[in-house]
Structure formats: structure tokens, C-alpha cells
Homo-oligomer: 318 residues x 2
């Protein structure tokens, strides 16, 4: 295979980023792909320890995700949730019957004292993956949003309040902001070819990962090419509330802003062909630019964008 | 209605006893029926606080039980359990998707600090019942079996090991063996007409209730008629492993043995018509006997046995 010896670390959030993660997973040897996944959205719900982004990544890579919603599992049923509603429980978070089993399993392992990294590896294997899906932390990190409705947690903002509150600031709370052994190992691997920032929301999905100082430092000083894929096309986000959020925080919605946001961390950025006129401004910052069609829907398109990302890394490495 | 003013306390376990409980529930005003239910089988499983007997009683009275198994809900699905098995979890206890919601709800309320009695009342109401389904205790009481395989808990014995180990002794462990306020109130109610020992396993379902000293004392000295319905017909238990257990513990399998077991606590016992020849021996103990067909399958038969139980109480009261 073309990329048999290519080793990549990707930074990824949920739905948006996992599209590229799937492409990478399909073209690389799974064991050569490490996906450092955002856990800033993790929360406790009905006694479960829920990791929405890790679940989305695993479901997507394993091909059991719900292609319509982007989250949750295909052919899902909602029997437990229906009865919970009848019982009068607060069911603002959608728990499918199959999905529930994963939360149950993870919570059980957590209570046994297992590390989230170990649990995630177990789950990945059970879903037939050799890919290194790596939680950014083994400890709870909480993405906190300062909004028009006060300070709220990610799930409250995103799911319960359907990202309606206006956001003025984002911060990350953690008692133990240390990089896990597995993340350290992946980033320090001498055979690593490059680091890819998936087209996830930079503020809500990638920044939580970078909030762990050790991870940010390792990436900052990494000698191998680091490239981002813009989650913005024109003045709109490809997926989710990125553009709404940027406007509220007074940031111009453009690929250029994404390049600025990652400045100092990336060597290059892939932006959409339609954003060609931004090339010069980005290059002025010392960031290389590659054009591609970054809206990817089919599995083939996702693999194509993954190939272009790796080619970009190889070009930069020359 | 015939029994509009009749007020009954029933002691009940799971499947066997709830047949009569359903009969009583159908012929009495629900608010006039208090069912003190065994919680000695309660256990923690995958983080859930599970009360098998309370659930069976509520499901049965609400008419949503699985008529084939006797436990769990009708039209049940097993999606969560299937995925849990795929994930390699130890799934020896059957958790249906609808059933799971009840465990989830109860566990959530428990964590909030609610008493089991309060939670059970909430759940009963949500299932449309005004019946007082009363946990025998708000605290964990554990039925422990000394067996050929060592000392094991009820669920381990009954479900995991399919009641195969030979039982030599049964005991009940509790840190706080106190009667709940609701149980006290039900037994001290001056309008109470009588107490019925449902045809549950005396050793595994009724004895845990009686292991709470206050409950035993209140029943012992109660002036209203107290009647039991034998769970034994001939030399076999109507349901479950009662007869196997009695043999292992060196107790003759007969209605007479049941009368002996409850001696000092009951005024009368209903035994099967086919056990007529035991009448004299039971009467010699000072216990009244009534004959009935105690194997009840249809709802009509259950109501008929309930009526006969109440008539028996009325006869004794004369």
C-alpha cells in the first residue's frame, strides 16, 4: 500500500473532524494512526461517564455511526429513553439503546479504576479497530463557555440549549492537565511523519486538546510537518456552530482566521478552492497553503482529502 | 364494590407471590392494599441499584410484565445487552431495554439521596398504581446462602448459578434492620382487616421481610387475622426452587411444613384441595385451614384466590 510506512498523529473533535479521521483510517495502516481526541465535552449523565467525541470517532471509524445525525449509532432504538421519559426523568441528552451499552461499559471500567486511555483502547479493539484513539486526558477537562446565559458547560450549551446562547469566552477547567503516556509516546515517536489538525471546531474541539500545556508544547516544537484543514469555507463553517461562535467572539469568519488561530503551531493549512484569494494573506504569516475541496461527504471524498493532507505533509517535509 | 372498605397488608416476594398480589390489587381499592415487598434480592449491577421483587410486583400489577418469564417486561428488546456482550461485559443478569430505564431511574434517585420507599412510590404512580408497594427496608438487606459452593448472595445463587448449588443455610445481612415508616404505618393502621402471606418462597422471599425484627414483632402480636397461602402443592413447589431448597435443608416438602414454618405468625393457611389429608395435622398446631385451588394461572383465578383469602380472613375475624 501507498502509505504503508506513513505514521500520523491527528487532533480531532467529533462529527466534523471524524470525517477526515475516517479518510486517514482508510488509507493508513490503522496502527500507524493516532487520533488525539477531545474530551472537553465529557460529562456525567444519569450516572454515566460519557465521552461524545471519542464515541463519534470510534463509531465513525468502525462504520457503525448514524450517517444522518453524525452522532450515535446506525439502526438505533430508543426504548430505554422512552421509558425514562415516562418515568419523568430529565432526558435532554439522547441515549440510544446500543449507544447506552458503551456508556455503561465505560462507566463500569472507570469505577474499577481503569484509565480512560485503557478503556478507549479496549472499546476500539472490540469495534475491530487497531487505530490508536487516544483521549487527550485521563482526567476530566471541562470546556466552559461564558455566554449571555452565564457560565455553562459544553453539553449544556451545545445539546441542552442547542448552541443558542451568545458566547463571549471559552475556557478549560482541569484538576490535572497532564498529557497521557500514550499521547506523549505518539507525539515523541521518531517515525512520526506529521501532525494533522482535523477540520474540527478550533475553539471547542481542538483548543481543549491544546489547553494541556504539554501537548501544546510538544506540537509547537515538533520538527515534522504540521498541517490543519480549515473547517471554514467562505464565511461559513462546514459543520456545526463554528461560524456563529466566531462572530460572537468578534473573529472574522474565514480560513485566514483559522490560520491565525493556529499560528505558531502549524506549518501549513488546507483551505477550500473557493477561498483561493486568501492564499496571499495566509502565506504572509509564514504558513504554507494548499487548495482542496474540503467539503467531503462520501467515503471516497474523505479518503481523497486524507491523501491530500498527507501529500501536503510530504511536500512540506521535502 | 364488595371489598370497598377492606384494607389488607400482603407480604410478597417476586413471581410466585405477585400472582396473588395481582388478584388482591384487582378486587381491592388500590389505596387499601399495602404490599410489603422483599428487597433481600436487591443488588448492584453495572452501577445500577436493582430491586427484582419490587420490579416484578410493579410490572405485574401494572399489567406490563412478561407473562411468559414472569419477570421483566412484555414486548422487551435487548439492544443494550447485546452490545454489552459484544464489548465483553459480564452479562449474567438479563437487562431488557425498557427494564433498564427503571434501574437507571431508581439509581439516579438513590444517588440524589431519596429513600427507596419514596422512589418506589414515585415509580408505582408513574405506572398508574395507587397501591402501596412498600420495600421492606430502605437499606440494603442481603440474603446470603450457605451452599455447596460456599457463601453466596441471592442473585449469584438464583440467576448466575441457576439455583444449582445445594443450600444448607440462609441468613440475612443488614447494617440497619429497621422497619420503614411506611411499613410501620401500614401494620399499625387500625382499619387494617388482615395480613396475607403471599405464596412466595417462605425461606427466600418472606423470611427476609421477617428478618427485620420490628416487622416480625408487629405481625406476631397483630390482632387481625393473618393467613398464609401455601406455595407447596403435594410435594412440589408451585413455582421456582422452593421444594429443592426444602429438601436440601432437610425439611419435608409439604403444606404442613409451611404451616410449621409460619407457626406463631399466622392464624390460618390456605392449602391446595389435593392436600386435604394434611388438614388435621395443621389444625393440631392451632392453625386454621382452608382448602382452595392454589395453582392460579389466569387473572380470574388469581382474583378468585384473592377473594378466598379475604373471605378466610373474614371467617377468622368472626
Amino acid at each position: 500500500m501507498k502509505y504503508d510506512n506513513t505514521k500520523i498523529v491527528a487532533l480531532c473533535g467529533g462529527i466534523g473532524g471524524s470525517k477526515l479521521a475516517l479518510g486517514l483510517n482508510n488509507i493508513l495502516k490503522q496502527k500507524n494512526l493516532s487520533i488525539i481526541t477531545n474530551t472537553g465535552d465529557d460529562f456525567l449523565y444519569l450516572g454515566f461517564y460519557i465521552c461524545p467525541d471519542i464515541d463519534t470517532v470510534i463509531y465513525t471509524l468502525a462504520g457503525v455511526n448514524n450517517p444522518e445525525t453524525g452522532w450515535g449509532r446506525e439502526d438505533e432504538t430508543w426504548k430505554t429513553l422512552d421509558v425514562l421519559k415516562e418515568l419523568g426523568a430529565d432526558t435532554w441528552f439522547q441515549l440510544g439503546d446500543k449507544d447506552l451499552a458503551l456508556h455503561l461499559f465505560r462507566s463500569k471500567e472507570k469505577r474499577k479504576g481503569e484509565l480512560l486511555t485503557t478503556i478507549t483502547r479496549k472499546i476500539s479493539k472490540k469495534f475491530g479497530l487497531s487505530t490508536n484513539v487516544l483521549p487527550m486526558s485521563n482526567h476530566m477537562v471541562q470546556t466552559i463557555l461564558e455566554t449571555s446565559e452565564g457560565e455553562i458547560s459544553f453539553q449544556d450549551y451545545f445539546v441542552r440549549q442547542k448552541h443558542k446562547p451568545k458566547v463571549s469566552n471559552i475556557s478549560f477547567k482541569s484538576k490535572k492537565p497532564v498529557a497521557t503516556e500514550a499521547v506523549n509516546k505518539a507525539l515523541l515517536d521518531k517515525d512520526l511523519d506529521g501532525i494533522i489538525f482535523c477540520p474540527s471546531n478550533p475553539f471547542l474541539s481542538i483548543d481543549p486538546i491544546l489547553s494541556i500545556n504539554r501537548i501544546r508544547k510538544l506540537i509547537e516544537k515538533h520538527r515534522k510537518p504540521k498541517v490543519a484543514i480549515s473547517p471554514i469555507v467562505g464565511h461559513e463553517s462546514v459543520k456545526g456552530p463554528t461560524s456563529k461562535l466566531m462572530k460572537e467572539m468578534g473573529i472574522e469568519v474565514s480560513a485566514l482566521s483559522i490560520a491565525k488561530h493556529y499560528h505558531g503551531l502549524i506549518d501549513g493549512i488546507i483551505i477550500d478552492k473557493s477561498d483561493e484569494k486568501q492564499i496571499e494573506d495566509i502565506r504572509k504569516m509564514g504558513v504554507k497553503v494548499k487548495l482542496a475541496e474540503i467539503i467531503v461527504n462520501t467515503e471516497e471524498e474523505k479518503m481523497r482529502l486524507a491523501e491530500e493532507s498527507i501529500e501536503f505533509i510530504q511536500e512540506i517535509a521535502l
